[in-house]
């Protein structure tokens, strides 16, 4: 993976020293909160419901074992012994003291990590396919481009005061695991007729209060033009984006108000101006970066033991069936380690678990680790012959749950258990759904299903693109949960449809059960997934299951 150059290191150290001085001035009273807030946000420091929160970037979800151990050390020294993996490939600490944060940033800098631009109206952490560099269906590893974008966007003077935050996601595969259509800019690698790799550029996607699937502004952008093109998009947005209304400030609204044709024209015009100015420097830098992302030297060994274990051990088989994905080398698998043990908080990892993951990555995974926006951890390169030993090592750690892609693999934002913006809780709803379907022993029978829960309209839990989405709201001083159905965050992205009136906190789990019962009853066979069944049947049968009394009333 990419290691900091002297330039990166000096930049992060300088920023850490600046922030330490800013904290001192805030504590002495020399800075008011209004003056301090933008400074702390530039460095990922939020003030939440019960405490400060520090959001640390894991650029494009890539992290090494050494860094993982440092996160564990930070969790033990300055926090409550755990970290929370977010839906944008960051990790959050929920309980740091303001006075400790400069020390935490310094400890992060020691291992080439930072919290810069994880908040504020800037270009945020660039996210990528968490299977990047390993996936069987990949055209090219998108992470060198993501790293180029990180270097370009970090402290870019033109883009430090954007109308609003700006999120970029990138994938190198035809299967979209990075939700590119719900980002301000989504980049999907495609090939042109000559077979050369380039990008489909999608602009103006986003969730939140105005959920929109992004619009393709370029079907094929040559790889070499990527950076000037992205800069052109940002430049046009920076000019046109509305600064008068926070709720209309994202590029999706700019696109909507300006129109696709006019916005595309402005982008292309600006691109023509910018492209010659880059003078090939970006490509020279990209070449250097690309060298740092080479695939590790994969080993050759007998794979017979894997097949023997798969046959003999039903627990291992169940885990292998759900938590493994195809690797570009047929003797390897991509392992997803679930942070979704039934009843646990989605995305939380204890310091002990972080250390175990680091050890296992070193022993069996060529020292590579990824964090997914689905709040799980990935070991991207594990040889078939190591899988049974790896699984045995996970047993008893809380990391062995065989549920990736199933009903209990729920994305949930922190909600009102932590977040100052939340209007209702998300975590306990996720915990109860996971526990309930575990009790029923139904989840493997239900098959692939994505439930996503947000505790407010800002949609950090991506509820609009959940096959079942749950949005927690405050209705007249009581928690209330709205259900959307049929959402999809993949290459066939769709915003889910609202099912009807919301449910009280103690009614939401039974409501989800009724949806699932309707699906199991109406699916063609076990091969038809929930999303396929929904697309075939539409909302009506699920609505009837959700609101049985309404049907009776209509019939009467």
């Amino acid at each position: 993976m990419y290691n900091y150059t002297d330039f990166d290191e000096a930049f992060v150290r300088t920023r850490t020293a600046q922030f330490a001085a800013q904290v001192e001035r805030r504590i002495s009273g020399a800075l008011t909160e209004d003056e301090f807030r933008p400074l702390r946000l530039m460095n990922g420091v939020y003030l939440q419901l019960h405490a400060y929160m520090l959001r640390v970037a894991i650029p494009y979800g890539t992290i090494n074992p050494h860094q993982m151990r440092q996160l564990a050390q930070i969790a033990d020294t300055y926090d409550k012994g755990y970290g929370h993996v977010t839906t944008r490939q960051n990790i959050q600490f929920n309980w740091p003291k303001l006075t400790d944060i400069p020390k935490i940033l310094s400890d992060l800098a020691d291992v080439g990590m930072h919290a810069i631009q994880t908040s504020g109206n800037t270009i945020r952490n660039v996210t990528a396919d968490h299977f990047a560099g390993a996936a069987a269906d990949e055209i090219e590893d998108p992470r060198p481009i993501a790293e180029l974008l990180r270097q370009w966007s970090t402290d870019h003077p033109e883009f430090q005061f954007l109308p609003r935050k700006f999120k970029i996601a990138i994938t190198g595969s035809s299967t979209d695991r990075a939700v590119t259509r719900a980002h301000d800019i989504g980049l999907r690698m495609v090939r042109n007729e000559a077979g050369e790799p380039g990008f489909e550029v999608i602009v103006g996607g986003g969730l939140g209060r105005t959920p929109l699937v992004g619009t393709t502004v370029r079907d094929f952008l040559p790889k070499a033009d990527l950076l000037p093109y992205v800069e052109a998009v940002l430049s046009v947005y920076n000019m046109l984006g509305r600064r008068d209304n926070k709720y209309k400030a994202r590029i999706k609204i700019t696109l909507h108000e300006t129109g696709k044709e006019e916005l595309s024209r402005l982008i292309e015009e600006r691109f023509e101006e910018l492209r010659p100015q880059f003078g090939g420097n970006d490509q020279a830098l990209l070449d250097q970066i690309t060298a740092a992302f080479s695939t590790p030297e994969l080993r050759q060994a007998d794979t017979g033991s894997y097949h023997a274990f798969y046959k003999a051990d039903p627990t291992f088989r169940s885990w292998a069936d759900t938590n493994l994905a195809a690797h570009k080398n047929p003797d390897y698998r991509i392992v997803t380690i679930s942070l979704k043990k039934h009843g646990a908080t989605p995305g939380d990892a204890t310091s002990e678990q972080m250390r175990l993951i680091a050890d296992l990555a070193e022993r069996y995974g060529h020292s590579e680790i990824r964090i997914s926006h689905e709040q799980n951890v990935i070991l991207p390169h594990v040889h078939l012959s190591d899988l049974a030993t790896l699984h045995a090592a996970l047993r008893g750690s809380g990391l062995e749950t065989a549920n990736v892609g199933l009903i209990s693999d729920i994305i949930a934002c922190p909600g009102m258990d932590y977040c100052a913006l939340a209007t209702a809780r998300s975590i306990p709803v996720a915990q109860q759904i996971a526990n309930r379907f575990d009790e029923l022993k139904l989840e493997h029978d239900i098959g692939p299903l994505k439930i996503k829960i947000s505790g407010c309209i800002n949609a950090c839990g991506h509820h609009h693109v959940g096959h079942i989405g749950i949005l927690g709201l405050d209705r007249a001083g009581v928690e209330n949960y709205q259900i959307t159905l049929g959402g999809d965050g993949s290459e066939t992205a769709v915003i889910g449809e609202r099912a009807g009136p919301g449910f009280a906190y103690d009614e939401i789990v039974p409501a989800i059960e009724r949806i699932i019962a309707a699906y199991l009853e109406q699916r063609v066979d076990a091969g038809e997934t929930f999303l396929q069944a929904y697309r075939r049947l539409g909302l009506a049968p699920f609505k009837a299951a959700l609101y049985p009394d309404e049907g009776k009333r209509d019939a009467a």
Binding site: E33, L47, A51, V478
Partner: protein, 101 residues
Amino acid sequence: MSRAFVTKVITGNDLLIGDVIYLTADDQWSRDHAEAELIEDEAHAQLRLLDAQRAKNVVGPYLADAKRGAKGPEPVHFREAFRTRGPSNYAHGKQVERPNV
């Protein structure tokens, strides 16, 4: 006619730790909701909010609805009730820490 005033407390977060704190009648900041000053009229509420905004150790003070209880003021809204306790997924925060440190 204006609506009847709902009694209030003043609350914010501690500058150094971030913990939830409440303004008491004797101008201290307590970590216990029950020790907060229960404010019973609008004019006094605005004055007390000005006092709170001048305090050095508090971030983002605001008025929150509260009602009289057996042991002191009690929160009205569920958000404020969560703030008196901490998160529901772990025994962290006020629910396990001694109030009034």
